[in-house]
Each structure stands twice: as C-alpha cells, then as structure tokens.
Symmetry: C2
Subunit: 434 residues, 2 copies
C-alpha cells in the first residue's frame, strides 16, 4: 500500500489489499497467536470455549439469517437435497454446536503432559513434553458446524486455526466465527487464534497450501476430490482422511445371531459414514450355515448385494460382483460379498483390497480373533463389534476433526490430543558433551 | 518379459527388465516382507541383528575391497578430502557397524506396546497398540555405514527397508547389504526385509519418491540439497531433517564459568553436526561481565565471530554481522553473536531466526529457565547443558536414523520407537452402534 499516492487510498484497506497480502497478514497474526496460545493455561482456553458457546446461543438469529442467505444461493444454484441438508442450520444444530464447545472445554488439556521422563548417567534429566502443533489450516466443505467444532478442538490443543469453509457456507461460517471470536475476547485471548480466509475464492486455498513455514499442518475435511487436490498441491504436511473401504469378516466360529446383527449395523445404520462396512467376507467353512441368513438380512433391509458366484447362488437378488467392487467405497446401501478361506483368507483379501481404515472380525475363536487383530494393518481393528464405532465420540475422545488414514502422526480419530506434537526439555547442571 | 519371443530372452532377466519393473518388484517384495515382520517376535528380529553383526565381521575383507573400489573412483572423480573421509571404511569402522547392530538388538522392542487402554460405558475395550510403519525408504549420501545403521533400526521396529545409498558408496553398501541379508536368512526372515535399489542411477530416486501406497515414509539423510529435492518431489510422506540453526542464550543470571564452558562445547566440540551452536545471544544485563570473556574464548579457540555493533566493539577480531548471519547454519568454526534484552528478547530472536531444532539457556534463575523452556518452540530445549547433546545415543535411544525438524509424527532424534505408528484394537461382545 505504501507505493500508492495518498489520494487513491480507500478507507477499506482490506478490500484494496491483494489476496496474497491479506493471506500473509493472516499467517503472521496466526503465528503470533499460536506463540501466545502455546503457553496459555487450560483455564483461559476453557473460559474462551464456554464464552464462545454462550455467544453462539446469543447469536442464533444472526447465524440463522446468514445461513438462510447461503441456503437461498444454494437452492438457486441447484445444489442437491443432500448438499442442502448438509448446509442447513436450525435451532437444534446451533444448540449442538454450542454444546460441542462445552464438551471440548470439559476434556483434559493435552498440552504440557509429560509423556516420558528419564535421567542419563551424566545427570541430564530429559522429558518428552506435549506441545501444540502451532498453526493448523482446516479446509472443509458445506457443513458450517465444522467452523465451531474445528476451532474448538484447535483452541483446546493450544493451536491457532485458519479456516477455509466451503464457498456455499461462507456466510454461515462467518457468523459462527464472530461468536468464536467473542469467546476469545471474553477470555482475553487474541482474535487471531481463530481466523477465516478473507474470500471464498479458490485462489485462497492455493495460497493456504503453499504457506509452508507459516502453517504447520493442513487438515482437509470433505470428499475424495477435495482431499486429493490438497494432497497433490500442498507444500504443508497434511493429515489425510481417505477411503474407508471397511470389511466385516464372519469367521466359521462366529455366533450367527451376533454376526447378523453386527453386519446389519455395520452396513445399514448409516451408509454415508466412513466407518460403514463396504465388504462382507464369510469363512468358507460357514458357507452352508451363515452366508444365506446374513445375505438375506441385507437384501431384506434394502441393501444391494454384489456377490461372488457362490454368493450370487444364494438368492436371485444378488448382483454379480466385478473386480472393481472389492475396492469400492460405496457410501450407500450397497455391499460386496465373497467367501474366503478362514482368517488367513480374510487377512489376505483385506491387505489386497482394503484401505487400512476399519475392519472387524466376528468369531468366538479367540485364536482367530488374535491373529486377525494383529495381522490386519488398519487404523481400527475390531472383534465382535460394529465397524461404525470408528468415531471420536464413540472412542471417548469427546470430539474429532476427522478420521486419519495416515500412518504418520495421527491414525484413526483425530481429537485434541492428536493435534499436538512434543518437544524434549533437557535440564542440566553444566554438562558438556565429551 | 512374457511378450518377448523365447529366443530373445536373456539369462539375466534383471538386466533386461526396465528399471520401473525392477522397482515395482522391489516394492511388492518389501510389502510382503513388511506384513511378515509386523508380527515377527522380538527374539527372531534380535537373532537376525546378531547374525548380521557376525556376518559383517566375517565379510570385512569383502566390504573393505568394495570400499577400496568406491574410494578409487571417488579420488579419480576428484571428491574433496572430507567427502573421501565420509566414504572411507576401515577395520574400526566395520567393527563399529557390527557393534551398532548388537546395540540395536539389545534395545527394547517397541512393537506391540500398549500405549493406552480404556473401557467404554458400552463395554467396548479399546487399546492403542504400537505397530510398525510398514515400508521405509531411506535415501542417503556417502557414508556407507548408514546401510547397516538404518537397516538395523528398521528391522528392530518391524519395518521393511528400501535403501538408496549415495552413488559414490554403492559398492560398499552392496557388500554390507549382503551381510545384512545373511543375518536375515540365519533367523529365517525374508531377504526382502532389507533391499537396495538396483542402480545408483538418479532415476531410481525419482521412482522411489513416487511409490505412494507402497512406501509408507521416506527418510532422507544428507545435505540440504538432497532433503529439499526429496521434499519437493515426494508423493510419499517424508520425515525431514532440515537446518539446525541452534542458539545458546547466556542469561544475566548465568554462572560465567559454566556459560564459557557450554558455549565453547556447543560451538567447537564438533562444528559439522546439526546440534552445533550457530548463534550466541547474551543478555544485555551481562554485557559488561559475560560478553567479553565468552567472545574472547571463541576467538582464541579459532572460531570466527560475526557480531552486532556492540559485540564487534569487544575485540578487533570480531567481524560485523549482516542480517543473513542470524539465519545461517555455518556447520563450521563460525558463530553469530548479539545482545538481547533478557529472556523475552532471546525468545523473540529465536522465534524470528531459529530453525526449531535445538536451543539452550544458561542461567541460575529458575524462573527465566522455565519461561525459556516453555516458550521456545524447538525439538530440543536445554537448560545449563550443551546443544551438542541432541543425539539419539546421548538421549539413551541407542541409535538414530536422524534428527527430525518436523512437528508431525517424530520430532528430534528418530530411533526405533519413532519408526512406528499405532492402531486401535477394539474388543467387544456384539456391540452395535445406536
């Protein structure tokens, strides 16, 4: 701006700044806020979360008005019913956001925990201490409630957040952000602890992904297209959440009633979540006893079954599966199904076609269960329980920012603890290295 | 090969395969080996490490002959004396490799540790259990001993390794690899647990960096050029090891004798290691008492001092510092030096110019020390000890594959434990999600 003659300056410097300048300022402010948050006591962070919850309740009319404007544009743009539903806020959803922040406030503070501690023969005392990551960039799609959920988890874990909501929900997110910042102000914390990119323009995403050295980690939350774009373009490390091609393996030693209940729940409780089962594997030993009732339950429950030849022989409603079915995450009332040769056959099938997200075995044979739990290389492996339990809330983590399919850093549900790093604190009395 | 008519087939299928085919086979074999290693008991892995140590001792003549050939080429190519020294193996260095493997064998096995365990109100028992990462790619430069060190740490942590040694040390590394594989064979473990790319051709590095889904993590070990290329090109997550622009802050309340000893050790014990101090910060309160003796010690010890105006006024041998000096990692007998305003001034200087690697405070004031240790955002922060202690061996981790400057996953020294991930093992009795 300094290059402009005074008479061309506008009163709205934001609008006349370039997007790159605005993003650079956002980054600088976030780093300063992160430095402050890294040593902010738990009480102040929790006070800000509680005040933000109150502010969200008080701002309900403003939030719903902003959301109504977003919804009107969405309908005009011809967004699908499912998309509009994801975008929609109502009294209950606003209240759920406020309560979510209160639940995060009630969680233990992960920052400052001593993870390990030891003394060396030379007297050096070494401690591995949990610290925040720093600045977290969160890129998400249409659900505006992510604004409060993600900001709350980042604040709890002592991180500054830069949010990039979906363009459809930009006004809703801005209204929620105002309430979050009121909460920060009430606790005397910097407003830059939670910021939003200045524009829904996709160019802001590109700049965000290049802010290596300013942003410590990017968390994309959305469909496969978004996540693949982020992975391909980002110069900043990414915590990824890719496919959940989840399997239920029904072992020959499974209790039939339990197997039927678990398969039904894993597939049909909600079909659009990443922990939903997408593939049914039945032990060849149980083909005569377990296969038909389980497959008929699914068909009767309105689920399309795409089966191998042996499965298709069970019922004329079964559709023959193609090779592509074994690797497909349907996120719908569809399941692939095949026989396998015992637990080793199940392990091999899952290694070949699975996505290392969530896989379950149903069996009364403890040896088979132990082998499956040890050998299946997935973020979550379950014995005699539904795959749909893969969820931060169900795991008792209070809230989550997503389910990581990475092996580095965070795997499975990503809660406040997973948004931290550690550092080594070494205390000496003048030790020199020989 | 199947497309070739029989009469054109050569007896050496490797040579006629394309590099891409060979790398794909390497990847498949590594994944199969990783699946096997993930459930291999500690005793078998330790047996392989001990047998590999013996095999290295027995193969000493062959290893030294291969190294002599590498050295001859290096001298002919005009490599610097320092490069030739890094490449050189002798009896003592071969013995050190063998002993290093025995030390790794003696470490506790990180795999299978239960990191946390809890029961949910619905009776689900959830355990977070340590598992190997899978397949690790290690790209390094001229030191051939990295072949044994890296392979040993990967094996200990249940990971398959694919090594890409520097082209100068390719024959030496191949001879060491043969001994590693003899060790694997003695313990009945697959040879593909430790493999090397088939050629020193740089094209192999490019293929390695694209093997996402096959390789779980890349660890580059070498100079900045290598690491920047890997970060820029890799489609596989990378554990990075960037600059160590390490600071020693001498507080006004520092014991002068301790400060002189620590600064001297941190800078001059070895100047080429990443934990060497590169910048001296002295509290303005101690300018009259501490600055001159510390600066003169450094100058008398053969260290070039690049100082701010106040530091340059101490001694005519001090060179005036430029802005670039504050961010420079010299890796040489050079240090930058300036006064700062107390512990807050030191924290601000380190945040602005540091590289988040290792920083130390020397003080008898516990409050100042606590503030520095909490606020400086570096992998290792020390109180009254030399920065040169940042090292896996000195930390009691037995061995290391490098010092990570990442905040995600592993930070600081990367030993066997840092080459692992975790998974959630969930045990139920038929629980369904409501």
């Amino acid at each position: 701006m300094s290059a402009l003659p005074a008479d061309t300056e506008t009163s709205d410097t934001q609008a006349s700044d370039s997007l790159a300048d605005q993003m650079a300022r956002l980054g600088r402010d976030a780093r300063a806020a992160a430095a402050r948050l890294s040593t902010t006591p738990a009480a102040a962070k929790n006070q800000a979360l509680a005040a933000a919850a109150d502010a969200i309740r008080q701002a309900r009319p403003a939030i719903l008005a902003a959301n109504a404007a977003d919804l009107e544009d969405a309908r005009r743009a011809g967004l699908s019913g499912a998309m509009v539903d994801r975008l929609l806020l109502n009294d209950a959803r606003v209240e759920a956001m406020a309560r979510g922040l209160e639940e995060v406030a009630a969680l233990p503070d992960p920052v400052g925990d001593t993870l390990a501690e030891w003394t060396r023969p030379n007297g050096l005392r070494i401690a591995r201490v949990r610290v925040p990551l720093g600045v977290i960039g969160i890129i998400f799609e249409s659900r505006p409630n992510v604004t409060a959920d993600a900001a709350g988890l980042c604040l709890k874990s002592g991180n500054a957040a830069i949010l990039r909501p979906g363009s459809e929900s930009f006004r809703s997110s801005r209204a929620i952000l105002a309430a979050m910042q009121a909460g920060l102000a009430a606790a005397g914390l910097p407003a830059a602890a939670v910021q939003m990119v200045p524009t829904a323009d996709r160019a802001a995403v590109g700049i965000l992904l290049g802010m290596s050295g300013v942003i410590d980690v990017i968390v994309p939350r959305g469909g496969r297209g978004l996540i693949e774009r982020v992975i391909a373009e980002s110069r900043v490390p990414v915590i990824r959440h890719l496919d959940g091609n989840c399997h239920v393996y029904v072992d020959g030693a499974a209790d039939l009633a339990m197997a039927r209940a678990i398969v039904g729940n894993a597939k049909l409780r909600r079909t659009g979540v990443c922990g939903a089962a997408e593939s049914l594997l039945v032990d060849r030993r149980a083909a005569a006893t377990h296969l038909a009732p389980i497959v008929r339950d699914l068909l009767d429950g309105g689920c399309e079954v795409r089966g191998s030849a042996e499965v298709a022989a069970i019922d004329p409603r079964v559709v023959p599966a193609t090779e592509a079915d074994w690797s497909t995450e349907y996120l719908d009332a569809v399941i692939s199904a095949t026989l396998v040769d015992g637990v080793e056959g199940a392990i091999a099938h899952i290694e070949r076609y699975g996505s290392h997200h969530t896989d379950a075995i149903v069996t009364d044979d403890e040896t088979a269960a132990a082998r499956f739990l040890a050998a299946v290389d997935s973020a979550v492996v379950l014995h005699n329980a539904s795959t749909q339990f893969t969820d931060g809330g169900e795991f008792g983590m209070g809230a989550e920012i997503g389910i990581s399919t990475d092996k580095l850093h965070a795997r499975g549900p990503v809660g406040a603890e997973q948004l931290t790093s550690y550092k080594y604190v070494v205390r000496g009395s003048g030790q020199l290295r020989p």
